[in-house]
């Protein structure tokens, strides 16, 4: 499948590992839960590790590990759950995470402008979306009123 990353449409090279699913590739993401339990073995088995954060996760738990991740996914349980917007700003600003920050799960195309402003730079949209059309969402506004991650850290 294709995703939007840094304003380009590219092929997705990452696989989301379910908890308990056998590690058989690099470029796989794991849940915070699994990371906390299997941190050491995951680091041995994989070269490129991604982390999936959901709103219920406490990011304080993984702050010391941020350097291990090439990708952090913000996994939306429902698009109306806005907690991950704050998580994104904190990761980018206060905790200085510079890798790929990707929205996955139940977010919608109409949120990608706001998401890009809080520091999300990649979007794994659900299949029903026209990804070329969705790219326009990044340019919905040419002006903004407030500082945010895309022009100033949190």
């Amino acid at each position: 499948m294709q995703i939007i990353k840094d304003r380009q449409i590219i092929d997705n090279q990452w696989h989301h590992l379910a908890d308990g699913e056998t590690v058989n590739s690099n470029y796989a993401t794991v849940s915070v839960e699994r990371w906390k339990l299997e941190r050491d073995s995951l680091r041995t088995d994989m070269n490129n590790i991604g982390l999936r954060i959901s709103p219920e996760d406490s990011i304080e738990d993984i702050l010391d590990d941020l350097d291990y991740f090439d990708l952090i996914c913000l996994d939306f349980p429902a698009f109306t759950d806005g907690r991950l917007f704050s998580t994104a700003r904190l990761l980018r600003g206060r905790y200085e995470y510079n890798g790929e920050l990707r929205a996955i799960g139940n977010f919608i195309r109409d949120q990608i402008f706001f998401l890009s402003r809080v520091g999300v730079n990649a979007f794994e949209l659900q299949e029903s979306n026209d990804i070329t059309e969705a790219l326009n969402g990044l340019n919905e506004f040419s002006v903004t009123y407030q500082e945010s991650s895309n022009n100033n850290p949190a």
Partner: protein, 549 residues
Amino acid sequence: MYQYNEVDQTLVDERVRQFRDQTKRFLAGHISEDQFRPLRLMNGLYIQTHAPMLRIAVPYGLLSTKQLRMLAYIARTYDKDYAHFTTRQNVQFNWPKLERVPDILADLARVQMHAIQTSGNCIRNVTSDHLAGISPDELEDPRPYCEIIRQWSTLHPEFAFLPRKFKIAVSGAKNDRAATQLHDIGLYLITGEDGEIGFEVLAGGGLGRTPVIGQVVRPFLQKKHLLSYLEAILRVYNQLGRRDNKYKARIKILVRETGIEKFSALVEKEWQSIKIGMELDASEIDRMKGFFKAPQYKLQPDHGNLADAEKQNSEFSTWLQHNTVSHKVAGYSAVYISLKSPNDPPGDITDKQLDTIADLADRYSFGQVRSTHRQNLLLADIEKSKLFDLWQELQAQNLATPNIGSLADMICCPGLDFCSLANAGSIGVAKEINDVFDNLDYVHDLGEIKINMSGCMNGCAHQSVGHIGILGVDKKGVEWYQLTLGGSSENKAALGERLGPAVAKDQVVEALSTILNVYTDKREDGERFLDTVNRIGITPFKKQVYANH
């Protein structure tokens, strides 16, 4: 008032384009009903009983005559020739067509207006004192700070999907006319210990199903830290506010469940991390103040001879007494335009009346009009010698009903007639009350009484802070009405106390008469209804109302 620059204009124009595209994709079936709902709500668009309802922002209640004429045009062109003013100083249209809403928003953008964040789980339109800048009891004009907050909150990317709606009010006067303590965040401009003016910050107030009075989070905040502090409160709320139950999702529940001390500590901690770098420059505050400078008052205004005019015309005299309010500049008055004519739903106004008021404001009041929390309008700067002429012209358009502050100045939600949530036909009951209490002398003798009536427990008419609150409830398909006494949204904010079991629809007016009889019987010299209730408690009222039950 604030004037858009190129950035402001671009933003509203792009917002119109965005919503036009969203509406098109929704109508084409590319966006689901569930996905479209929050998007349309963030543009003020509800789907109601009969048709969509569009709520338009009137930032802190200030309107130019150009904007007023646009509202009249929209009423004529897209609606049924009328508009409705709300309790949060905004305007609603009850009959637009969904597919025309983008055109309405485009028309609004031409006069620097929008419907951004007038609904939805986001930071709503900021409200303030309708007497801002003209009231003798004011410490500082709150409107520059309202505009700063408006801009900061508009399309704030982090806070567009909050647990629930979020309302902010700012008051700069000794007497609170903005129901500040009943907002998610309330800001009072106050003088600090060393003489510096800053803000007292309250959080966790709110009306609706579980009314709560806000508590102090920070007793004094320097002006320069306004936005970082708001951002800290919002971030704590966005992360910790409940999302499992929409009736427990407002910040008032978070503050209550966390406890004010712990909540304040969380906010302070967050604030310490972000306050550096987010300061408001003094020059930015001054720039905003520049938009709200006093108009060119006459140095020697003509006071006219009001006493003579009053002697000659008792109707004018009554109106003068009830519908005008003192102004900080000698020789001027502020004039309320009552939107509570007994024959029309409270807050409703026709396109013709809107045009008339625009003309009057151009001629008499520096081209500006204000909307109030009690669903009336205000002409803020009228030279006293012009009051009689103005009254005559208002009279001709049914806009001089002399009932401001009286029981006839009811706040009432649209109720069953329009709203899909309502249990009760509040407008109908308001009409009955007006029909029975049609003796103006009696109504005036009763003095200040705030009646607030909501058609369901969502409480859009703020019944819990009405001196007399009336709440429509549904019992097995029949409308009943719950009465409360002693509520107030002023400085000593209080929630009304339940009088007793709900009364049947045809008993509401009788119960009200009984309550008023108890008051006139028990009141002491010059005592307002609310003061009597506070002094004697609700028991004497209760005894009489339920005497025959």
